[in-house]
């Protein structure tokens, strides 16, 4: 690895293997690098180890072999607080992510845990909510919001920590088409590295120029999303299926960063 990429990469995973305490091995040596500012989709069938991989990125799961580095910092016990600030994970169910009584407090939770107080904290919250277009809902309790709004607030809770990389677990699940599009607009407008775990292949094509296919605990493919989705053999081999009538060759690929 040359020193230039080592400095600019948001995320480097090398040789990552992990078995659960019950003996089930989920990851068998995963290697990939995501450069700063990239938007990458992580595709794979159910049970491929996607969630296990995500939980390694901020050190919730450790103890396997291999290393994960976030912006050059190795994930490990000594820098845990900093790693968790740098890796923002948006979980699949916003009701799990939003655990405070009001939207404002929820968004403030991360930065406050990092020691931010007073007007600085308030500014951070306002900024994060403005990024996802939810500034008007600041004092509402999360359970009074629609699902799409909750998902957007969940993204804001993570953006408020000003992460190096935003990791989204199934961001489009359970969203109606309008909310899905709104979220895509928001994700496109953010100036942050994104790793998106998804089954929604058209969404991956729309948002992420590059994709990784995780299958049976290894990275089976890494390339341009449009190329991977057009590779029928690869798709079949890893139980990836496009929705009926969707032809990846017929739509424009995701634009890269300007």
């Amino acid at each position: 690895m040359d020193p230039v990429t080592a400095v600019t990469a948001s995320l480097e995973v090398s040789g990552l293997a992990f078995a659960y305490p019950d003996g089930h091995q989920a990851l068998f040596g995963v290697d990939f690098t995501i450069a700063r500012g990239e938007r990458v989709a992580l595709l794979g069938p159910n049970g491929a180890g996607k969630t296990t991989l995500v939980l390694h990125l901020n050190g919730i799961l450790t103890g396997g072999t291999g290393t994960v580095r976030v912006a050059g910092l190795p994930v490990g016990r000594e820098h845990m607080a900093q790693i968790r600030r740098r890796v923002g994970i948006v979980f699949q169910d916003p009701d799990d992510q939003l655990f405070m009584p009001t939207v404002r407090e929820d968004v403030a939770f991360g930065p406050a845990a990092a020691g931010l107080r007073g007007p600085e904290l308030e500014a951070r919250v306002d900024h994060a909510l403005a990024l996802v277009g939810m500034a008007a809902f600041k004092d509402r309790p999360p359970h009074h919001l629609s699902f799409g709004q909750r998902r957007r607030v969940a993204v804001a809770t993570v953006l408020a920590m000003e992460p190096e990389i935003l990791v989204l677990d199934e961001p489009s699940s359970n969203l109606d088409p309008a909310s899905r599009r709104e979220l895509a607009d928001i994700l496109r407008s953010l100036d942050v590295t994104v790793l998106m775990v998804t089954h929604d292949l058209p969404y991956a094509l729309e948002l992420c120029p590059r994709s990784l296919v995780l299958s049976d605990g290894v990275i089976a493919a890494d390339g341009k999303t449009a190329d991977l989705l057009a590779d029928d053999e690869l798709m079949r081999a890893h139980r990836l299926e496009l929705p009926y009538g969707f032809d990846p060759r017929s739509v424009p690929a995701a634009p890269g960063r300007p």
């Binding site: 919730i60 607080a81 979980f91 799990d96 655990f99 009584p101 009001t102 403030a108 939770f109 107080r117």
Partner: protein, 253 residues
């Protein structure tokens, strides 16, 4: 704070009582209840004066009497016990309307009834002028064990989520033709309750993951610092102080 976070007990308003910092109100209500409880039960006029004090607070807080009285009904199951006391207690007896009642039982019932009602009335007033969220901040400020405050806060946040889950499970049961009729079906209901518990437990695990992902290390970060000025404290403590004077009079007279 908290527009739309209306709880049944809370009554929205902008009275001076609503505006007091939550921890001063909590401390004041607690002190008031302690004073009321330590008043001798024979000083009946003192309890009347306490009721007058509470009425004054309700007036300042612009909480209508009907609203307050309706919420006092929560006391009824507890009072039922007090009503039994004159019948079951031992000792000297008096005839009232042809019934033989125990004197010590009557005093006991009066004691429970008067002190209970005053305590509940004070709590209802607190709840109707303070939002749940603020109450939690107040408890936190009063240095209650943080774990308890966190549990209470999660109860508020997830009460609706779990109720909704329960409703969906009921709909799913009924959609498959199940109707709870009598003891024979309790087994099904018990299994549903078990499933709900497991689901909630698993949700708890996921929430915990989300929390540590955002830097939680065992204590809630302080987001809102609630502070009270000396004036606010003395304003809030006007109630328990007045009550204390009444109580002292009750002991000396």
């Amino acid at each position: 704070m908290g527009a739309g976070h209306a709880h049944k007990l809370y009554r929205h308003g902008h009275s001076p009582v609503h505006g007091l910092p939550p921890h001063t109100k909590l401390a004041a209500v607690f002190a008031f209840v302690v004073v009321v409880v330590s008043t001798p039960r024979e000083a009946m006029w003192a309890f009347g004066l306490y009721a007058v004090l509470l009425t004054l607070v309700a007036y300042v807080a612009r909480v209508p009497a009907g609203f307050l009285l309706k919420r006092l009904l929560i006391e009824v199951p507890f009072v039922a016990f007090a009503v039994l006391m004159p019948f079951v207690a031992e000792g000297e007896r008096v005839e009232v309307l042809g019934m033989s009642l125990s004197v010590s039982g009557l005093w006991g019932a009066w004691n429970v009834l008067a002190k209970g009602t005053l305590g509940v009335a004070a709590s209802v007033l607190l709840a109707s002028t303070t939002e749940l969220r603020e109450l939690l901040l107040g408890l936190q400020r009063l240095k209650l064990p943080p774990l308890l405050v966190q549990i209470a806060s999660f109860m508020i946040r997830y009460g609706d989520v779990i109720t909704d889950e329960m409703r969906r499970m009921r709909i799913a049961r009924e959609s498959r033709g199940f109707e709870a009729r009598g003891v024979r079906h309790w087994g099904v209901l018990a299994k549903s309750a078990g499933a709900l518990f497991i689901r909630s437990y698993e949700r708890g695990e996921r929430v915990h993951l989300a929390m540590i992902s955002r830097g939680y290390t065992g204590s809630m970060p302080v987001i809102d610092e609630v502070t009270a000025s000396r004036a606010q404290w003395s304003y809030a403590f006007a109630l328990p102080f007045a009550a204390l004077v009444v109580c002292l009079l009750g002991w000396t007279l």
